[in-house]
Amino acid sequence: MQTFFQTLTTGLSDGSIYGSLALALVLIYKATEVINFAQGEMAMFTTYIAWALMGHGSTFEWWAFFATLGIAFVGGAALQQTVIRPLERASVLTAVMATIALLVILNGLAAWIWSPQLQFFPSPFPTKPWVIGGVHISKQDVGTFGVVMACVIVLWLFFRFTKLGLAMRAGALNPNAARLLGVRTSWLLALGWGFAAALGAVSGMMVAPTVFLTPNMMQAVLIYSFAAAVLGGLESPVGAIVGGLSLGVLLNMLGEYVHPVTTELRLPVALAILLVVLLIKPAGLFGRVVVRRV
């Protein structure tokens, strides 16, 4: 029983990371209809910036955390305006290819600037765990979960209660009508990229203390979060979070109780889950079945 709860808490903590990046994917997709393949690498790159700001990762500084969020926001918006916007009128294939180019460039640049070696990234939370009934609950896991949930709530409040949030939702729902009504959709897209980049930076900085900082650290996390987004139904923000949490718990449970599933098989299992969800329930847990007009 103790092991069970232990696995559960670790799973929830992993899952909150997957959920937050899944949310960033869903957010960009809802706002722009383009999948941003560079999402994970943007998160990785901004985490490196935070690491550099923190004096190469000696101690965690909250000012550096927030400065990184700002840099990520501006950087994401700037990338959209400079790299993606000129391809606005091109085909979706071209736009997606451009995000793949960004993925490659950011990954290469990070290795180039900061070397591909593993780096230690400090955690803002103490390493000493709480012990409740024999279950070690790491303060780091709880803190990660809290930070991610806080971000989600702030974003939800933004989309639900501000005029800008309303404009963004309108722009995503029907870009042409929104443009006719005076919404500047191009800037909103930049804003969407900015938010997604900042959210990515949060997940990067939260995951880095456990997986260590490397240029490839987000590749696997991106896949888990995509699987989480699919599990949750791809277009539903709530689904992304719930999908992330359940995937985190499921993977940790399988790793703990099913012996053939070793750490090497974690990713193949996530891929298998993704494919099974697609076969059985393509709309995911929270997605609507989209009926398209022909």
């Binding site: 451009a98 490659v104 460039i105 070397s115 993704l274 494919l275 697609l278």
Partner: protein, 342 residues
């Protein structure tokens, strides 16, 4: 006249392939053998990406499946190396079909995200079953067994094998993309809704295209293993899959002969052109050209430049040279090919 163009172009290519070993050194010929196998991989990926409009970020792993099929059959079961080439293709093709059935339910770019997982999952599986795959250490193959009196020169024999396969697979690709099935592929790319309305099973067509492209990449992977005589999990990283995609865009997605340019790029950017470009650049900026990651930055920048300056790739440039200049032609209306607005 138009009818004649393909056979004539093919004849010219065959002639060039026959002459090349007499013109270049042994090492260059060996490298050109790799160009042949990359051509096979790119043809397959082009059928999926260029003709059907589905992006895959995982086809390097299908090359890996072909390579491991060859390695395991040759090393552990003593199968003649040449026979494993079609087998590598078949194994990769079957796995590709099995993956394609659920994955092609994705609309648009989601397929690419799902395929992004394949190379990472593939590496995980290789490491999990070391008694079968050799684990992290990988496996050594014996040198390719030369035939027909070429035993003095294994690199020329490798070249001959690769280009023999490539010159079989190229007409096969032409055969695939023309006619009814080819039109179905293009209709899925241009408008899934219109394709469905005309009775094309979009999921079926996408799955078939995925299987075919995996088969091509499997064949290329078998040749790769034979050429390098060594495979390990790091031989087929995600970078390779991305590089293949860059090759498609650079050659000109949707053009089969364009893949020749793509294949030349894929083979030579890594060792020859990439460092040369960096050298040119570093003279002014004092950049370490052997820095890790610098190669990736070069691919990425090249890809972006191609997307902006020559979206139809090298094939588009060639077409532009033979026809009217681009600014005189009517611009294509992007809304026609955007299913989102229909």
């Amino acid at each position: 006249m138009r009818r004649l163009r393909n056979p004539v172009a093919f004849g010219v290519l065959v002639l060039a392939v026959v002459l090349a070993p007499f013109l270049f050194s042994n090492y260059r010929t060996y490298q050109l053998g790799f160009v042949g196998l990359y051509l096979v991989a790119l043809l397959g990926l082009d059928i999926l990406t260029g003709f059907t409009g589905q992006i895959s970020l995982g086809h390097g792993a299908f090359m890996g499946i072909g390579a491991y099929t060859t390695t395991i059959l040759v090393v552990d079961h003593g199968v003649r190396d040449l026979w494993t080439i079609p087998l590598g293709g078949v194994v990769a093709g079957v796995i590709g079909l099995a993956f394609g059935i659920p994955a092609t339910r994705f609309a648009g770019p989601y397929l690419a995200l799902a395929t992004f997982a394949i190379p990472l999952a593939f590496i995980g599986i290789l490491k999990r079953f070391p008694h079968f795959t050799g684990g992290t250490n990988g496996k050594n193959l014996p040198q390719l067994h030369p035939e027909l009196g070429w035993h003095t020169n294994p690199s020329i024999w490798f070249y001959v094998v690769c280009w023999f396969v490539a010159l079989v697979m190229l007409p096969l690709a032409f055969f695939i993309v023309r006619g009814r099935f080819g039109r179905a592929l293009r209709s899925v790319r241009d408008s899934e809704i219109a394709a469905t309305a005309n009775g094309v099973s979009t999921a079926g067509v996408k799955t078939a295209a995925f299987g075919i492209s995996a088969f091509y990449c499997g064949v290329a992977g078998s040749l790769y293993a034979i050429g390098t005589t060594y495979v390990n999990p790091d031989t087929f990283p995600i970078d390779l899959s991305i590089l293949l995609l860059v090759g498609i865009v650079l050659g000109g997605a949707g053009s089969l002969y364009g893949m020749l340019f793509g294949a030349l790029f894929v083979e030579f950017i890594r060792l020859t052109w990439g460092p040369a470009l960096l050298n040119l650049f570093s003279k002014a900026h004092h950049i370490d050209t052997h820095a890790p990651g610098s190669g990736l930055v070069v691919y990425g920048v090249v890809l972006l430049l191609v997307l902006y300056l020559a979206p139809a790739g090298a094939a588009g440039l060639v077409r532009g040279l033979s026809g009217r200049p681009a600014f005189l032609r009517r611009k294509e209306d992007p809304s026609l090919s955007d299913p989102g607005l229909v």
